[in-house]
Amino acid sequence: MKCEELLKQLNEYVDGTIEPGICEKFEEHMAGCNPCQVVVDNIRKTITLYKAGKPYELPLKFRRTLHETLRARWKQKHPQKDL
């Protein structure tokens, strides 16, 4: 396997969905290629950082408006439930 071929298998490798036969070649290549080792490590860390990002909180005022809007629309749509 060459570096270029390794790149094409990168997703599968870091996601753990790579086929065992290809995985073996992937790791064989990495063992002898420091740049590829570092790239794989960088990619893993990149994904880890993004996954660890905190979700945005809804502004309180917006959350209130959102639920009011949904309730109002729901009652228009289901008038019989409102009796």
Partner: protein, 213 residues
Amino acid sequence: MTDRLASELSDADLVLRAKSGELDPFETVTSRHERRIYSLAMRILRHQQDAEDATQQTFLSALENLDSFRGEASFQTWLLRIATHAALKTIRKREGLKTVSLEEATEPEDSYDDIQHPKFIADWRQSPEHLVEKRETQRLLDDALARLDDKHRLVFLLRDVEGLSIKETAQVLGLTQANTKVRLLRARLQLREQLTEALGDPATRVEAPVHYH
């Protein structure tokens, strides 16, 4: 239905109850997903008012179309799909484009042939665990994401930030799985490049292999 009981029900059960006309379960399922939907909208649109609008459109649309939700995908995937399309609509309006499909507009370059090879290759100075605690990291992540094309950013957000599978990401965006994978690879490589330029230790920099070409 009490709050305690509602919070223990699965999305599927809540949606079933909502479909029969109960408002409370719909509100519960909305509360469960609103932060996630709003976060996705913020990361795609990077604008609070636009993200609020897209979030509201998403849940209004879910309310209107609840009967058409058949449970083939999870409710969450269904919501993410609606939210992604609401956000895309805003992007197109901003760019003054008409309804260009995400797929048609970009088809030809979705191959592995011209994947950009890594340039700045170096170990990072700090561990992700350490970086995550620092305020400037979030900004770096947001800025790097903002520099991606929309089509790459969307795939990365759905797959790596929201944690959808390749198949689900493809479904949400109306792409083939093959295209989704290529876009994901491009996104990951571009983000790696940017983050490593900022976080990499130049002392450990290694040259890109000569057989990259």
